[in-house]
């Protein structure tokens, strides 16, 4: 398998006057979970369709697993699995028949198919219910089955288009855990689109942020936080007041400060020591109970990127 699973150069796709994907240039290393983050209509699904060779680019090019999406789409589709916008399951059929169909498509031997179906369904806790028609299943169970289908023929790369969208938090967490375990165990590269930032933070080794078809940032979540997010401190205590806010604003280590619900939220200039700031507050009469220091979350980085571009 090539070291780079996905490579795009200036990939662009127009739908009439609308540019869905705009000069997208990314490299996704093999073997990791890549999160493609963006709001609704950002171009995430169109990107997956382009990478699978289901759509032709208006401009630019893309390679998936070393194959050109325009000329070698069949090769790509035979080596990848996909859970697209909809689960794509045949609801009149049983779970077992759904997997049997895609196992046959994946050219697994009859014995190999049965073993693989059992392995995946057992791992996902669905084996006992394999003969039930999919229509009777909950959305969470269907999504799990769709993940099993995507992994069935042991692809080297899988595309997951918002797999936990519209699941309740319990089902989403369960699916996320299963995904992480399966991806690690199978050693596949995962191209995951989501607008769930907590999900991306937990699962992804690298993320790309897209908005209106344009790539805004790409890197490890920690890198993005370091690049975009400022270190922060939260101070809880009694006697905190607006005078203290003004006092802190005068400190060189403080980029900004605000008081909400009786707590101080401070954006720091770099990874500075907050002890002098705490001493300052204490000397001004505050009774400090708790100090929390940390970096901005991926969500804050994401929101900052979205605001920058508007």
């Amino acid at each position: 398998m090539p070291e780079i699973a996905i490579r795009t150069e200036g990939l662009t796709r127009d739908f009439g006057a609308v540019r869905a994907v705009d000069q997208l240039t990314i490299e996704v290393p093999a073997g990791l979970v890549f999160g493609f983050l963006g709001p609704n209509s950002a171009g995430k699904t169109t990107t997956i369709r382009l990478l699978l060779g289901l759509l032709e680019p208006t401009k630019g090019r893309a390679e998936v697993l070393g194959f050109d999406t325009l000329r070698q789409a069949d090769e790509i589709r035979s080596r990848t699995g996909a859970l697209l916008e909809h689960s794509g399951l045949y609801e009149r059929l049983s779970a077992e028949d759904n997997l049997e169909f895609y196992g046959r498509i994946g050219r697994l031997s009859p014995g190999g198919r049965q073993a693989r179906i059992k392995e995946l369904l057992t791992h996902l806790g669905l084996w006992e219910r394999r003969r039930e028609t999919v229509a009777t299943w909950s959305r969470g169970m269907r999504q799990k089955l769709a993940v099993a289908r995507a992994l069935l023929h042991r692809p080297t790369l899988i595309f997951l288009d918002e797999p936990t969208a519209s699941l309740d938090p319990v089902a989403a967490t369960a699916l996320r855990d299963d995904l992480a375990a399966l991806a690690a165990r199978e050693g596949v590269t995962v191209f995951l689109t989501t607008h769930n930032l907590a999900e991306a933070e937990k699962l992804c080794g690298q993320v790309g942020v897209i908005r209106q078809g344009k790539l805004l940032a790409v890197g490890h979540p920690d890198e993005l936080r370091a690049r975009r997010g400022t270190p922060q401190a939260e101070i809880v205590g009694r006697g905190l007041n607006e005078q203290m806010v003004a006092l802190l604003r005068g400190q060189p280590a403080v980029a900004s400060v605000e008081m909400r619900n009786g707590r101080l939220y401070i954006d720091l200039r770099g990874d500075v020591n907050v002890a002098p700031l705490v001493s300052l507050l204490v000397s001004a009469g505050a009774e400090v109970e708790e100090v929390r220091k940390g970096k901005a979350s991926l969500e804050e980085v994401f929101l900052a990127l979205m605001q920058e571009e508007t």
């Binding site: 035979s78 697209l84 916008e85 045949y90 009149r92 028949d97 169909f101 498509i105 050219r107």
Partner: protein
Amino acid sequence: MIADVQTVIWKEFKELFAQRTGLRGGVAGLLVLLAVFGIFMPLQTGRAWVESPAVLIYWAWMPLFFVSGVVADSFAGERERHTLETLLASRLSDRAILLGKIGAAVGYGWGLMLASLLLGVVTVNIAHGQGKFLFYPAGTALAIFILGLLAACLAASAGVLISLRAPTARQAQQTLSIAIMLLLFVPIFGIQALPVEWKAYLVRMMLAADLTRVVLIVMTILLTLDTGLFAAAMARFQRARLILD
């Protein structure tokens, strides 16, 4: 590619017999069709069911009816149920998907026609056999076999072509039904509308015509139409268009 076509046919049959009402409902629907065309109608028709050359028209028409009941769902139904894009994202080739869909519809329609035909023979023999085995003349049986297959292919190719374009299975079904009705009723009403002397000329010509020759001409026309419609369906089958539609 043959294995891929078989895989698509396998799935189509699984879905077909499962239907919305479950396996029992699917099988029950088939049994009703077999009862009507394999028992009721042969009983009504009597010995003519196997002896009259007019049965050729009946058996050539029947697959159109059977196939049109299922083929409209082939692509429009998958699109409606959001399974089409996942299927298109698989490694199956365009040709394998298309041939699989057509093959399943033909297999269903032609298979049902043959089953009705055999059941009809049994029915006629039980009701009117009088100790003698009644069956179609060899030439008629062969013509039924080939005409039925070609008619099933015609309905399947036309149905798939319509289904590729239709936004919903219901719309595809309606369009196909109209097309088949036109195919059946335009010649009937067209002939009725002819002047009397023209009709008389047609009747004289048909009585004088060599039946084998007529059947061969019809077969050639059907084969040409089948090939043309399949080529049109292949040309229409574009993954991007199917997804964006």
